[in-house]
Symmetry: C2
Subunit: 406 residues, 2 copies
């Protein structure tokens, strides 16, 4: 493994350090975030396992497919960094025309801001004193920072904190989409919240967010389409209703990888919060697409690299990737390029492959690529992506916001 | 947060750095591992969430209960660091009389060795060239390092590598316990493997390991007892059989938190590999104990601290702890000290509490303690424990081997 050169290490820590000092609050990390190129590409066969591998060319293709698709239709892309937690990938998304990035939590936003990103939307409500103070500190340097609010008292609290700091903070109203997770109910309640926020001098009401987490994984395309369009029609009506009160809104954000080709048609929607399209996972691989096809627009670009380490009984093979190497979720992880084998969890540290009818022999010491069920929490288990091209690891991409769930 | 003093930072990195240079292989981490005391204890109410909290006094009580119980019965304790991944806690366990520690993987052992521990057993087979080289490099400095082997060719490979390095490496034969995960079948096959290993000049056959992962969570105590004793009787017979071939064995290791009070009676067993007893989790909380009691010898000492951040619909409350804050497993996480509430996953970043009949009101901004389902993979999501006493965080204990699944 090649460490960062001393020069690039110093330059990155200097950026984060300066930000920290200026903001008066330690950012969550001040570690280097740029890719670390390996002096000599490392063959995958020699790479220590478990490792999280991304195919550089496929990631780039997925980045471009989504960027081009939305650009051609006049829709903005505000990719969600909670998927990759990797500032380098966020910078790639911005370079391809993203209008900004989303972060799920304050600490994730701190990491992204420390890498130099300025257009950041924190997509979950922030309600405690300590976190409000951190948002305000961040906003002093991160001029494009926006938050979401779903409750009047929280708006009052943020307005007071922004006033004390002498800043004005951009706000979106978070609408309850039907996911029943966060957000103010659409319609009357949202309009009342808008009337509460609009006169607050240190908040700037920029728009609305409506993210339908419950819609993304509806298997049948037509059902998914109907659910998303109905939800977003209600969000759009809510927007019109707020604007009818003399409160103009510029942002109408929501949507994701599961509905990007549906939501792109929603009138007045300004940008989509896609995340998973970058690497994909098996949860998306089982969704339907229009005309009875399978959703395969964004091929899987990520896998967990593992090794066959023991064969205690005939007909099965134990590998070194268990609960700590892949987040347990449905559907089951699958082997890339080998059929007739079923993966089962073998505890925290191991997986057990059931060799029903393997399409090629699997021997002790063999390295195997697993396609994980669910990309976001799996990525959150690793410190970096092994970025690979033609079966050789060319660079490590730091997952700098790993563990930043605060 | 108070960083380590410069002096203690330098002393810890110096230890790791020296080890690394001497071993000719970079250890997995060279970060400070000692607890970082906070200059001023931080009230839990002001602690940023999600955070992983341990109750210092309860951890110490659990440490002592297990150490005393086994000591009084002449049984050794070889605690498993895969649970806590925290060198400080491993040192506490050694200070209370542990005979050594277990590590699941090579990279975990590297972290523990870098903290100065020398008696380390790696409990999973290591089969690739790259990992064998790392084990050999580690063994040069970590004089008490032992590995497990379940296959003849692997013994031959390790012997050759140890010969090339001019060392002799301690080996336990890993027995297939019925878990069907790793190990050589007990009886004939194990005896043949022992006869293969014994003459190898650069391996030292120290004993056998028989860990019954499938036994630990059998709910009914008598059934668990019968399964564990039957398995270990077979392991003991295998030991006697190997020794009858003129191969004396000094280590007979296995067992865990779920069976410690059963396995303690097994004749010839030398030490138990308990891990979870330190902090416990809900998976142990549902087990039975003798005479129809519940298994409550080791009270839960760890929880995930979270905040109520949104109430989109009446009757539920959304908190900031989801898949990335607690490993999803059964049984469901529970609130500490509040009944009549059910936790449900609300995606990667959130949990949704269903407020059926809460024993006290839960309001926006309230902080709540969650008891996780499964301690090991939950700990593996965090960089440090917040070590707490009387509702104040006194220190951060680095989880230095977090993510070290290689």
């Amino acid at each position: 493994m090649t460490p960062l050169s001393r020069r690039s290490f110093l330059s990155t820590t200097a950026v984060a350090g300066a930000l920290s000092a200026a903001a008066g609050a330690a950012p969550a990390v001040a570690l280097p975030w740029q890719p670390k190129s390996l002096e000599r590409p490392l063959p995958l066969a020699e790479t220590s396992t478990p490792a999280l591998i991304v195919d550089i060319d496929q990631v780039e293709a997925n980045l471009k497919t989504m960027a081009d698709y939305l650009k051609a239709r006049g829709m903005g892309l505000r990719p969600h960094t909670k998927t990759h937690k990797c500032p380098y990938l966020a910078h790639r998304q911005m370079a391809l025309g993203a209008v900004g990035v989303c972060c799920a939590k304050v600490s994730e936003a701190e990491v992204m801001a420390a890498s130099g990103l300025t257009e950041i939307l924190i997509t979950s409500p922030v309600v405690t004193r300590e976190k409000i103070d951190r948002v305000i500190a961040l906003a002093k340097n991160c001029t494009g920072l926006q938050i979401v609010i779903d409750q009047a008292q929280n708006a009052t609290d943020f307005d007071a904190a922004a006033r004390a700091a002498g800043i004005r903070l951009g706000v979106l109203i978070d609408l309850e989409s039907g996911t029943r997770r966060t957000g103010v109910p659409m319609g009357d309640a949202a309009a009342a919240l808008a009337r509460h926020i609009a006169p607050l001098k240190h908040l700037r009401l920029d728009g609305i967010q409506c993210y339908g987490g419950h819609v993304m994984h509806i298997g049948d395309f037509e059902s998914r389409k109907a659910a998303s369009l109905s939800m977003l029609a209600e969000a759009r009506d809510t927007r019109l209703r707020i604007e009818a009160d003399g409160i103009p809104l510029r942002n109408f954000t929501g949507g994701g990888t599961g509905t990007y080709d549906i939501d792109v048609a929603v009138e007045g929607m300004t940008d989509l919060q896609c995340g998973s399209y970058l690497v994909m996972d098996l949860q998306y691989g089982i969704l339907g697409a229009p005309e009875g096809r399978i959703y395969d627009t964004f091929p899987q670009a990520m896998f967990v690299w593992s090794t066959a380490i023991s064969q205690p009984v005939p007909g099965s093979m134990t590998i070194d990737a268990g609960l700590k190497a892949m987040y347990r979720d449905s559907p089951r992880p699958e082997l890339r390029g080998i059929t007739g084998v079923t993966y089962g969890i073998g505890g925290d540290e191991h997986g057990i492959l059931s060799l029903e009818n393997p399409s090629r022999p699997i021997r002790l010491g063999d390295k195997l690529a697993l396609l994980p069920s669910h990309c976001d929490p799996t990525i959150n288990l690793y410190d970096h992506f092994h970025a690979c091209r033609n079966d050789r690891v060319e660079a490590l991409w730091p997952i700098s916001a790993r563990g930043m769930s605060q």
